[in-house]
Symmetry: C2
Subunit: 432 residues, 2 copies
């Protein structure tokens, strides 16, 4: 047999137990906050028909980044690049039977064929949170509050992150009414706004200039200058300030203030890649100057369920990837010390395996997670293995201990030792 | 936009919250028992290079059932049909650094292109449990005990399931020494043994007959008769009874008895589809006469890690799919009543949403999972939605309640109502 490679598929990670502990910490934090807000878990298959993504997900993703292939039955399928089309499909399938508002979350793995780099893998996990059936700002408030609560649950403070909020309705108004652009120009301008943070001001102006028609250029650039100087809703030009769109954003910010979402700030340049957003959009940014970038975001997309031939349903949601949050936790020193799920490692001294197995069995029945060393090696080698595995407590089982039914338990971190009965171990260790 | 189908990919299920609750119950039971035994969670990407499966997984799976395709970089990849090759790869990659014995578990989704039917989907989840580095029977004992403990944790009793145990070493001995078959004959006979339960005795004999060479037939069939009548190790023909293989199985059964794994029984006809098993194999059967079949199994496969060009490592493990256990729990009435993870559904009476939001926020901070109805509809409609979602408690928030800061909480099942402060709700509801 030829020697096989031990590498994982390019851009996809193996999760050894120490990696999985961290992933589980992130997943469990996500779950905890979502469930606090009354969201329930769902999931869908990683394979979906390609039609689900065509003209809904961004063109770049569908044409260049999908994992698509033909199955043995001739169906063209895709490994999902995102979850939103799947959840819309599920809601559409049971539109009549479901109770509203629907509050759902999921932590699917998604696949995109991109160049792997820090914070971006081909396989990634993404928390998806959505509320269906609420057309009022209360849903936007809840979703942004939930995103904020997740950041707080991870230990983040307002100095570490910012939630930029904008409105697609307002953007449309700016493009058509304020800048007086046609559909094609508007599309280019939105794209330019989207990459504004990556451009020097002079390059931005240069690129903006050519989007305008000749007779628009002068006034257009001046309008842009005024617009981009707006630090808050109050700074917007009057024609926008009096619009319904701005009033709705204003209401949202008042509510966010009441709900103590103090990291939220208005940003007129915030776009969002996906085409399906229809109103409020938001994006959460890392404020670390060395890593200042968008971590995740979402918004309202009222049209997607309707694409399945049923009446549309008001929807607000967001997606939050595992890699960006892992980087954030690392760079802000928010990673907790994670231990093995095994509470106790049983070390046999001398020929005690048979009796030790019995002690271990009693401990498990009492709810303690116990591994037992099954090798015949010297105790110090057994200890070394336990330490490498990150097990927090060691249990020593020798003949003397068995005679008295009292065993030494050593806490690895404090090096404190106690001599305890099986009952006492069960009581002590499961609470450490 | 053309109307899109709302169906999930054929043979793969959508998990709506009520389905996901059951899946989570199964996953959490698996996790709990594995962690009690000191096993730690890991995972690997669902995509693997096709070479990983060639000549290790069964030919049927690789040639006819894999989801394989070429990625945008020209690599031929497979959506894993099973986890064992991946975990062997991961162990081989860090063979030197890892601490032994390695005890790992994972709950990956796997994909096989088969005809979907009850208990068999194209996408399925499979608990994988493996111990690496122990060549003695203690590892077989531990893995079989763990499988037994999972069944017990699900509420199963010995009348409901049976653990059939056999030995590949013993099978090899039977084929070569006892039945005196050559390699090719042996392969056919193993396949025939494997499907014995599905054949009438006369058909089995007929098919066995043609495997023997003409001059072997009479004595061969007689030997087969003796062999298949063996109800226990003691009934085996003497030439087998004195072998090392049988002695090892005997030791295992003595230990299983001491560890109260009373569902274990010897079965000389138990094979196991995969080619990589090298010694003890076992399979867990549903004893329900209407559903009497193999649910899951495993065994020792000492050679797989070595296929990656490193020294081999003794390994014992098993895989347990979600669908067979779900069917088992259903048919034996072992499914628990599963509720929503949302503890409380807040129902607003009159124009109280703003104040209600504040109460809900306090409850969440106190650790209660609360959903709030954001519609303006009548309370009875709100109640109906909460019941449909399976939320166990209702919280009523009207103007009178807000004035006194005392709220009615109704338990849906008992219909009992209490009038409580926010603090009291937090104390009462999170313990129900």
């Amino acid at each position: 047999m030829a020697k096989l490679s031990t590498q994982s598929y390019k851009g996809a990670r193996d999760f050894y137990p120490e990696d999985k502990r961290l992933q589980n910490y992130i997943f469990n934090t996500w779950k905890k906050v979502c469930e606090q807000y009354g969201y329930e878990e769902y999931t869908a298959p990683v394979l979906e028909p390609i039609e689900l993504y065509t003209s809904k997900t961004s063109d770049e993703i569908v044409n260049e980044q999908t994992y698509s292939f033909t199955d043995r039955g001739g169906r063209t399928v895709v490994m999902r690049p995102e979850m939103t089309p799947s959840v819309s499909r599920m809601v559409a399938a049971r539109r009549q039977e479901l109770a509203y508002p629907i509050r759902w979350y999921s932590i699917p793995d998604c696949w995109r064929y991109e160049r792997p780099q820090r914070g971006r893998n081909r396989q990634f996990w993404q928390l998806n949170v959505d509320i269906f059936g609420i057309g009022t700002v209360d849903a936007d408030l809840e979703i942004i509050s939930l995103a904020n609560a997740i950041m707080k649950q991870f230990g983040a403070t307002d100095e570490m992150f910012q939630i930029k909020v904008n409105s697609r309705k307002l953007i449309n108004l700016i493009m058509s009414q304020y800048l007086e652009l046609d559909a094609n120009q508007a599309k280019q301008m939105v794209r330019l706004f989207d990459k504004k943070d990556k451009l020097k001001p002079e390059d931005f102006a240069e690129q903006a200039k050519v989007i305008f028609k000749d007779d628009q250029q002068k006034s257009g650039l001046e309008k842009l200058r005024i617009l981009l100087n707006a630090q808050s809703l109050a700074d917007l030009p009057e024609i926008l300030r009096d619009s319904q769109a701005v009033k709705e954003v204003q209401v949202l910010f008042t509510l966010l203030g009441e709900h103590e979402v103090t990291a939220a700030t208005f940003d007129i340049t915030l776009m969002r890649g996906f085409d399906y957003y229809t109103d409020i959009v938001f994006e959460v940014f890392d404020l670390d100057p060395e890593n200042n970038r968008s971590m995740f975001g979402g918004g309202r997309y009222d049209g997607l369920v309707g694409a399945f031939g049923v009446d549309p349903i008001a929807t607000v949601g967001f997606g939050m990837g595992d890699a960006p949050i892992e980087n954030f936790l690392e760079s802000h020193n928010l990673l907790p010390k994670l231990q093995s799920t095994t509470d106790l490692y049983a070390i046999t001294i001398g020929d005690t395996l048979k009796e030790a197995q019995d002690i271990v069995r009693q401990l498990r029945l009492a709810g303690v997670n116990v591994a037992i060393d099954l090798t015949d090696r010297k105790p110090d080698k057994q200890i070394k293995a336990a330490l490498k595995m990150g097990v927090p407590n060691l249990l020593f089982i020798g003949e003397e201990e068995l005679k008295h039914q009292k065993f030494i338990v050593r806490n690895v971190e404090s090096q404190k030792e106690d001599t305890l009965s099986v009952e006492e171990i069960a009581k002590n260790v499961s609470t450490t």
